[in-house]
């Protein structure tokens, strides 16, 4: 499980407190007004910034001393997820070896992942020649070969249309369920949270709420969420 133990994140005048637990294998959406600190929370888990106080633990061990690359995490950003000069295959292969030199076995695993996300036949294409949805799929292929138990997504599909976004949420949720990976996804769309079908954390007023079933929260939103949903 992912545990935030008295975590406090401070950036200039901005403060965010988090004290909660996300169960292993859970699928959690994170919502809240812009500027509330959703991405900041994810950045602290990924190791891009250190919390001012408290600890972030994965399966009981402190992530604090680990560099971003050494954490059990694969992450997908809002954009710039792919290197423009590398093919789909090479981008996915980075999840296995940053050097890009693969054994025959490993190359097979990368090809499997590319097929699994529905990009078979497009392995040699550059990201620039792909549609937005295909680019997201390529990033998911890399996430697959990384085989890390904790998947963080920071508004990953916000550039896609509603139908495509739903499709991608289904895909990533299915892939994570299959591998029993824990999924934490920042989104601004209640539809994504509902579609994910798991829990929901609300980031507002300087705190992160404990995860609660998304369906229940969305049906009867508490004040902070109601203010955001409008």
């Amino acid at each position: 499980m992912l545990r935030f133990e008295g975590v406090e994140i401070v950036q200039g005048g901005f403060r965010l407190a988090a004290d909660l637990t996300i169960d292993a294998g859970a699928q959690v959406a994170v919502m809240g007004p812009s500027g509330a600190g959703k991405s900041t929370l994810l950045a602290a888990v990924a190791g891009f910034s250190a919390p001012a106080a408290g600890r972030i633990l994965w399966q009981g061990s402190d992530l604090g001393p680990l560099a971003p690359g050494a954490r059990p995490i694969s992450m997908i950003f809002q954009d710039n997820n792919l290197f423009p000069h590398l093919s789909v295959f090479d981008n996915a292969a980075l999840g296995l070896r940053p050097s890009g030199r693969l054994s025959a076995d490993e190359a097979e695993r990368v090809r499997d992942a590319v097929t699994r996300v529905g990009l078979a036949g497009l392995e040699s294409r550059r990201p620039g020649t792909l549609s937005g949805g295909q680019q997201s799929r390529a990033a998911l292929a890399r996430m697959l070969v990384q085989e890390r138990p904790l998947v963080l997504l920071d508004e990953p599909f916000s550039a896609l249309g509603p139908a495509q976004r739903g499709e991608m949420v289904d895909l990533v949720a299915g892939l994570c369920r299959e591998r029993q990976a824990t999924l934490v996804m920042v989104t601004h769309d209640p539809g994504d949270a509902a579609r994910l079908g798991g829990d929901l954390c609300i980031v507002a007023d300087g705190t992160v709420s404990a995860p609660m079933p998304a369906a229940r929260l969305l049906a009867d939103p508490p004040a902070a969420l109601r203010a955001y949903l409008g």
């Binding site: 995490i73 694969s74 992450m75 954009d79 997820n81 290197f83 980075l94 940053p98 990384q146």
Partner: protein
């Protein structure tokens, strides 16, 4: 429709301004062509001058770029106290009087300089600062910072997410170099190389002070010698044509390869780099930054140390020259601003893209034409009707203004276009035209770039040692010319004092004018 008359007037003014600039530059070229009298045969000295010009420019550009890569990388991935100051300082050589920097370099790297003293302790012979070595060292001094800023910009243009992504993938410095940095460098380096190359083919003062002799004469220097020593005008004209061909083709090449632009701001952020936390890399970067800073600052420090005790005892002739320098600079600033402002406003208002492009192209002509080429042309034009020596100072101011024009345009055109796009329709609907529009809309919106353009024009003119060397009576020249003459007669203490005065005046002119645009400016 009612506003038609006004923009046409404005655009017309811009066309006239652009036309005068074009007439001046192209007229000078025509005069040079006419005077060269078909003496189009390359002598041995001429080919040597062409070769030296190209070799020193290529070497200077190569060394500047090769050294700039690790320095820019260090600046891109380290945060430290004083980083912003250092990055700003790297923009300073541009406004530094060339001859002052050359004197500083002689004091540090010359035969009796600090580096040679250190080498002597180790039993090594001193460095020879004159000839190819010296010209290249001086050009690297001026252009290493420029190349560093251009490349640093490329580094900072890599999206921060890419570095984060690389960090989550556990990429080491080698992987990051391969996937992130090398693609960026492949895109940035050719442009940076060409910019430096172009600057080095047209730089005259460095060659004048450190070059010379059959083995270290640039084409520009050969023009000067043909003028000053032989008074062989047709040979000077012929050499001017060669110079025009060299720098013109370099400029065309630079236009063709997308050249990166050094922008003022935005270089003060850094991206956190998890791959670079290793102690060895930290040490390497710290050493690189310290070396680059020392290379930039030691020559200035040498001048300050040696010049300060001299300043109070400087003869009256120095202050007279300083006064002449100041008013030449003032005149040059006025001309630059008038030309640049009318041209920028015309570009912003022009309905035909072709007209806008034509005006802009005229403003940038000076990039390809060296001051000595214009100087030669002007001399040829003036000589039959008046005494060029009597006109030396106004002519210098005019040429300096045209030389500063490209930089002024680069500051003003984007701001003018933006102001017009954002507020033009509103001003039109309110009937703001003519002087009203200029006072209430244009000048307030353009205050900062106007101040900056004026500051650049002023500082460049203060430090100029080009046309003035061609025309002026040595007894009634500007401060840089006086400094050059002191160096020529090895009066180094006095030279250091004069250099310090010139340096202080140039920086003060830049600071005052730039600040004038900033104070109370509402953005």
């Amino acid at each position: 429709m009612a506003d038609r008359a006004q923009p046409l007037g404005l655009v017309g003014g811009g066309i006239v301004a652009a036309g005068s600039v074009a007439a001046l530059t192209l007229g000078c070229i025509a005069a040079v062509l006419w005077r060269a009298e078909g003496a189009f045969a390359l002598g041995a000295g001429d080919t040597a001058a062409i070769r030296f010009t190209l070799v020193q420019a290529a070497l200077s550009a190569l060394i500047s770029c090769v050294l700039a890569v690790p320095v820019a990388r260090a600046l891109a991935r380290r945060r430290f106290r004083g980083r912003a100051v250092l990055v700003t300082l790297m923009g300073a050589p541009f406004i530094l009087p060339v001859i002052v920097a050359v004197l500083g370099l002689v004091m540090v790297f010359g035969r009796a300089g600090w580096v040679s003293d250190v080498l002597a302790l180790a039993g090594l012979p001193p460095i020879n600062i004159y000839g190819l070595h010296g010209v290249v060292i001086a050009h690297v001094f001026f252009n290493l910072p420029l190349a560093t800023r251009l490349i640093l910009q490329g580094w900072l243009a890599i999206p921060a997410e890419r570095f984060r992504l690389a960090a989550t993938l556990g990429m080491g410095p080698g992987d990051i170099a391969r996937h992130l940095e090398r693609p960026m460098l492949r895109a940035t380096l050719p442009g940076a190389f060409l910019v430096v190359f172009l600057i080095c083919t047209t730089s005259f003062a460095v060659a004048l002070a450190l070059g010379g002799g059959p083995r270290a004469t640039t084409v520009e220097l050969a023009i000067y010698q043909a003028f000053r020593f032989d008074f062989d005008l047709s040979r000077a004209a012929f050499l001017a044509l060669i110079q025009l061909a060299v720098s013109g083709s370099a400029a065309l090449l630079a236009l063709w390869v997308a050249v990166p632009q050094a922008v003022g701001g935005g270089l003060d952020r850094t991206v956190e780099r998890w791959d670079a936390a290793r102690p060895a890399l930290r040490l390497l970067d710290a050493a690189l930054i310290a070396l680059a800073a020392a290379f930039l600052l030691l020559p200035l420090l040498a001048i300050a140390l040696r010049g300060l005790p001299e300043v109070w005892g400087l003869p009256a002739a120095v202050w007279a020259a300083a006064w002449r320098s100041l008013w030449v600079a003032a005149l040059s600033v006025c001309v630059t601003l008038m030309l640049a402002l009318t041209m920028a406003l015309a570009i912003a208002r022009a309905r035909h893209r072709g007209v806008a492009r034509g005006i802009e192209a005229a403003g940038y002509l000076a990039v390809a034409v060296s001051p000595l080429v214009i100087g030669t042309g002007l001399f040829l034009l003036v000589f039959p009707i008046a005494d060029p020596v009597a006109l030396a100072l106004p002519v210098t101011a005019l040429v300096n203004a045209v030389m500063a024009l490209p930089f002024a345009m680069r500051a003003l055109v984007p701001a003018a276009v933006e102001a017009e796009a954002r507020f033009g329709p509103l001003a039109d609907s309110l009937g703001m035209t003519g002087v009203k529009r200029l006072r209430r809309l244009t000048l307030p919106r353009l205050r900062r770039p106007l101040g900056f353009a004026a500051a650049l024009a002023g500082a460049l003119s203060m430090g100029d040692l080009g046309v003035i060397a061609l025309f002026a009576d040595p007894e009634a020249g500007t401060l840089p010319l006086l400094l050059y003459r002191l160096m020529g007669s090895y009066r180094m203490d006095e030279a250091a004092g004069v250099a310090l005065v010139l340096l202080a005046l140039s920086l003060a002119v830049f600071w005052l004018l730039d600040r004038g645009g900033r104070v109370n400016a509402e953005v």
